[in-house]
């Protein structure tokens, strides 16, 4: 038995990893749109590069990049090996001029700004070099952004007060290091700042003072695989540090408030689906070919084709909305009345049942057809087997043959079907929660996806899928409990 459990658990690892990878890949793909936002914020297309305009917008977007790891390379980070010459060449690529492709230039510039801590030292080296005076303006700009590491509330809570203050001051000081410059199509980079020399020395000094904070000696080797978008995502997932910038809250605390609602609804829906479709299937199997069986089969077929969003909206329209001349029979939103906290327990449960009745109906009706069909086929299969003939020959009553022998053996298939059903239900509960305004995981995921809140989407997807995998595991275990052949194989 234990061998079976371990085997199932091991099989789940690649599945779960694969899901993480798919999730990560999808969220990585939205990169270009964020880069567009950054361009919009910096007025990048307007020609004249204006340091004042940039300073108002870029940090706000950098916060989003830094907290989600979108500023890091996806899988391999080689930024620690960029030296002074490479950075100088990179800076020259961001210069406007005749015949320069503006879109490519802009992209390279944004990439440089997001390149992060490893570029602070080489950029300072460019600033210290008198021969590269032309590049000092953009280098100081890039340095101030590469050195910018925002703190979100979670990090602030864990940090010592003076350390947090030091970090805040460091971020503040960065703005003062920017040398104003122009980047024209005509003559490229041109420093326009009267205080350029003072800012330049300050920037070099800043980089020297914080050298260890930005790139300690062995860091660049560790960063190759350790400081990438994917590892940051995994670390944040494992430590629960996924942070939703949109909602200013930890992703997992948002999920913790809501997952029980969805999980409970789905579990109840499965139980109801089993309780309805098992008797239906058995009944159909006993009356094969009768008018009743064919009628119920057709009715179930129609039910199966009914889209749940149509049924849900229809119920909302006819039963949950006040029309002229009639009042609503059911509430139209949520799972409990606003003042239900003050109800006695029976009243509270009654209130809950009143609220949950229609959402549950919409969630589970779609599974009746498939489940009862499988049940019917399975019972029919069992009825022609030898042990049923033996039981009949012994003189066991027909009811006992069907319910005690055939049905019990058919239930095993029902268990495995239950786990497949759950996957469908998880998707379906998004629609149901949306229609009936229930604050569950599905609605959270939907809202996160609509507002492109990447960390929240990742977190809630991973949790939904995790819950699903656990349920599949439970179903597998139940399967082993119910079927002695499996236990025997792994004994």
């Amino acid at each position: 038995m234990w061998a079976y459990v371990v085997r199932r658990l091991l099989w789940m690892i690649p599945t779960f990893l694969g899901i993480l990878v798919i999730n990560f890949a999808v969220l990585r793909m939205q990169g270009p749109s964020l880069s567009r936002e950054l361009t919009k914020a910096t007025g990048g297309e307007s020609g004249e590069m204006n340091a004042k305009l940039v300073s108002s917008g870029v940090e706000a977007y950098l916060v989003r990049f830094r907290t989600t790891g979108l500023d890091l390379p996806a899988l391999v980070n080689l930024r620690g090996f960029i030296g002074k010459d490479e950075v100088a060449a990179w800076l020259r690529e961001t210069e406007r001029g005749p015949g320069v492709d503006d879109a490519a230039r802009d992209r390279r510039e944004k990439e440089l700004w997001m390149a992060g801590r490893f570029l602070v030292a080489p950029l300072a080296a460019v600033l210290a070099d008198d021969a590269l005076a032309k590049l000092h303006g953009p280098a100081s700009m890039a340095l101030s952004l590469c050195a910018f590491y925002p703190l979100h509330r979670g990090e602030l809570e864990r940090m010592a007060a003076d350390e947090a203050r030091a970090r805040g001051e460091r971020n503040q000081a960065l703005k003062g290091l920017r040398i104003a410059y122009a980047n024209d199509r005509g003559d490229g980079f041109r420093t326009t700042d009267p205080e350029a020399q003072a800012k330049r020395t300050a920037a070099v000094e800043f980089a020297a003072r914080h050298a260890a904070a930005f790139a300690a000696p062995g860091d660049r080797w560790r960063a190759i695989l350790g400081e990438t978008g994917f590892t940051l995502f995994l670390r944040q997932l494992a430590t629960g540090e996924l942070w939703s910038t949109e909602r200013q809250q930890y992703v997992f605390s948002l999920i913790a408030d809501r997952w029980q609602t969805s999980f409970g609804l789905n579990l109840l829906a499965i139980l109801i689906a089993w309780m309805v479709s098992i008797p239906l299937g058995v009944r159909a199997a006993r009356r094969v070919g009768s008018l009743e069986e064919r009628a119920s089969g057709s009715a179930l077929f129609l039910l199966w084709s009914l889209p749940s969003f149509f049924v849900g909206t229809l119920l909302l329209h006819h039963l949950c909305t006040d029309h002229p001349g009639s009042t609503a029979l059911f509430p139209n939103r949520g799972l409990s009345s606003p003042d239900s906290l003050w109800y006695s327990t029976p009243a509270y449960l009654a209130d809950l049942a009143w609220h949950a009745a229609l959402p549950l109906l919409v969630l589970c009706y779609g599974s009746f057809t498939a489940l009862s069909r499988y049940m019917r086929a399975s019972v029919l299969d069992q009825m022609s087997s030898d042990y049923v003939r033996t039981a009949r020959a012994k003189g066991v009553s027909e009811d006992a043959v069907v319910w005690r022998h055939a049905t019990r053996n058919s239930l095993i298939t029902m268990i495995t079907l239950g786990s497949e059903l759950l996957a469908a239900l998880f998707g379906g509960s998004i629609i149901v929660e949306y229609i009936f305004s229930i604050d569950g995981l599905g609605r959270l995921l939907l809202e996160a996806a609509r507002s492109q809140d990447a960390p929240l989407v990742m977190g809630s997807t991973v949790i939904s899928v995790g819950l699903l995998l656990v349920s599949i595991l439970v179903a597998d275990l139940l399967y082993a409990v119910a079927d002695p052949r499996i236990r025997a194989r792994y004994a």
Binding site: F309, F310, G428
Partner: protein, 407 residues
């Protein structure tokens, strides 16, 4: 006893299929939806079909079909071309019924439509300024509208509803079915939505969206699933192991969540939605094809092919795959139904393409304006009927093709 022509098992099964009442009903409904999609402009357009005045006899709608300003999307052009070619295809189908096999005729028809589609996009016509322009290009909007007809007194035939699907009519927000539109003098057959669009016109053109996405997404999914399933079943070994893990991942991942996340992140465009539905929906087909390949690959004819030294790809796709067509056909029908439902569901939760009329989007408006019943019943029933008819066809195919189920 009449002489019966020798027929393949598939042909026999298709004959069995055609004699079932449920399947007949499903086919009829599907055909009705297809006709609505093909001839949607005849049902709802503000341009006259026939216009006869002193200047002569004209067919303004025919010209308008190839006006890129009126129908900017590629799928609209494809449906217009297919609609115009349909009589020719039907005639050819009937004339060649004894000479060409059904699959050859299907391929020829598809090729004809695609050629017409491409031709309409090639610069073939002189544009009057010395250059060339495509048949399908930007022109001034047609002047032959309902208002112009009333003013000029020309003899005209108009579409069933003289309203455009993408025109918001002034003062026509959330009007119930039957309300008269002062702009055209005709009624809104199925009411209007919250923007002032004619629901009937949007429903007619929404059929095109549902069918396009349903068919294309299923096609993509089947192609991927077939290749992966074939490789996995035929090659076996570690290829099979790896691909089966991939299939397991796709099976475990709740498709709707995946589609929702991808569409929300990459953009709400019908092109993206179609590809996402296709790229996420192949797991079932892969499993099916793998099973069939496992069953077939030990057969004598496969061994004979191998002994003859045929390359693996040729054995897989020329010899084994045709034997797996029946389960694939069934799964394709259910797949289209599933894709149609998924697309409507996506549009319903607000993740559809806002630039095209979609049934799910209308239903979502019904949810937002919950007191207005026609916004719920009309699109909901349409999705239900299309999904149901496709399921009926799939069911009929399964019963006809499954040797166990047939009497």
């Amino acid at each position: 006893m009449p002489e019966t022509a020798p027929a393949s098992p598939l042909a026999l099964a298709l004959r069995r299929f055609a004699s079932r009442r449920g399947a007949q009903l499903g086919i009829a409904l599907c055909a009705a939806f297809a006709l609505v999609a093909l001839y949607a402009p005849l049902l709802a357009s503000d341009v006259a079909i026939v216009w006869w005045d002193d200047a002569g006899f004209r067919l303004p709608l025919l010209a308008d079909l190839f006006n890129r300003r009126s129908y900017p999307k590629h799928h609209d052009l494809l449906f217009s071309v297919a609609g115009l070619l349909l009589p020719a295809i039907a005639t050819g189908w009937w004339l060649l019924r004894r000479r060409w096999s059904a699959s050859r005729r299907v391929l020829a028809a598809a090729g004809l439509v695609l050629c017409g589609w491409l031709l309409a996009m090639l610069p073939l016509l002189p544009d009057g300024r010395g250059g060339w322009q495509a048949v399908w290009s930007d022109r001034p909007s047609s002047a032959c509208t309902a208002e112009a007809a009333r003013a000029s007194g020309a003899w005209t035939i108009f579409p069933l509803v003289p309203h455009r699907y993408d025109a918001a009519y002034a003062g026509a927000v959330l009007k119930p079915p039957g309300t008269v539109n002062p702009a055209s003098g005709r009624g809104f057959l199925l009411g209007t939505d919250q923007v002032g669009f004619d629901v009937f016109a949007r429903m007619a053109f929404g059929t095109r969206i549902s069918l396009t996405i349903g068919l294309l997404a299923t096609g993509i999914a089947l192609a991927i699933g077939t290749v992966i399933g074939a490789l996995s079943g035929y090659l076996g070994g570690w290829v099979d192991l790896v691909l089966q893990r991939l299939v397991e991942i796709m099976m475990c991942f709740p498709t709707f969540i995946l589609v929702l996340v991808v569409v929300a992140m990459l953009g709400r465009d019908i092109f993206i939605i179609t590809w996402v539905l296709g790229l996420t929906g192949w797991a079932g087909a892969a499993r099916l094809v793998r099973g069939e390949f496992l069953a077939q690959s030990g057969r004598d004819y496969v061994l004979a092919c191998r002994a003859a030294g045929l390359p693996a790809a040729r054995i897989m796709f020329r010899h084994v795959l045709p034997n797996c067509m029946t389960p694939l056909l069934i799964s394709a029908t259910f797949g289209v139904a599933g894709s149609v439902g998924l697309e409507s569901g996506l549009a319903f939760i607000g993740l559809g393409d806002a630039n095209v009329p979609s049934w799910g989007m209308l239903l979502n408006q019904g949810r937002e304006n919950i007191a207005f019943g026609w916004l719920i019943w009309v699109p909901g029933l349409a999705v239900f009927l299309l999904v149901m008819s496709l399921n009926m066809v799939g069911n009929g195919l399964r019963e006809a093709l499954d040797p166990k189920a047939s009497p």
